[in-house]
Symmetry: C2
Subunit: 120 residues, 2 copies
């Protein structure tokens, strides 16, 4: 039950596409991720997922359109909706909010899938 | 499933201590509140509550100490823990994350209790 400075937490790691857990509440995790270039198309069968951008511009690709998220902007991707977050070559800092059981690559088992995500 | 600019949403209302809903996921609401001066001592029996400061400085009073939250800082207040958010005379903008059924005054029925909180 301590105050968390989000930007300071981002400074504690450098790997991309490797979400770190910073807090939990009501069966959900708050995570931070640094992302760059393209991830992988996936969906989450049972979990909605919130993305909030703290640095840079995130392009959330859906099958039918792209949403652009700048610093201070957020989006909720509902369960079952295929998405693929991308950036335009820059490193983007994103806060995630999702149920504890959420795998970040969702229904896809990919070389980028990180299990046992760590707390920072 | 649209992009939400958090600061722009804050600009849509002026009342203090009247949380507005901006999004939902996994049975939880994302809310915004403008707060000023003192609220009311309360706790939530079954719900953890996240506070993230977007503007100003929030003083989260607990019975045994005070946590200071500046812009970009967050805290999770676990269920059952009495708390009372206060500000030092300034208006502070706070994002909340909590289960849909959470009453903002928790276990306390107070003149400030707002039922049927509205979407913006």
């Amino acid at each position: 039950m301590n105050t968390i400075n989000v930007i300071e937490k981002f400074k504690l790691f450098s790997e991309t596409w490797t979400p770190k857990i910073i807090s939990e509440l009501n069966g959900q995790y708050v995570k931070l991720a640094k992302v760059k270039d393209e991830f992988v198309w996936h969906s989450h069968e049972n979990e909605d997922e919130l993305f909030m951008v703290f640095k840079g511009t995130l392009y959330m690709h859906f099958r039918d359109r792209v949403e652009t998220l700048r610093e201070g902007e957020m989006i909720v991707v509902p369960k079952g909706v295929e998405h693929n977050p991308r950036t335009n070559g820059e490193e983007v800092w994103v806060l995630l909010f999702e149920p504890k059981e959420t795998a970040h690559t969702g229904n896809v088992d990919h070389e980028r899938t990180v299990r046992n995500q760590k707390w920072i």
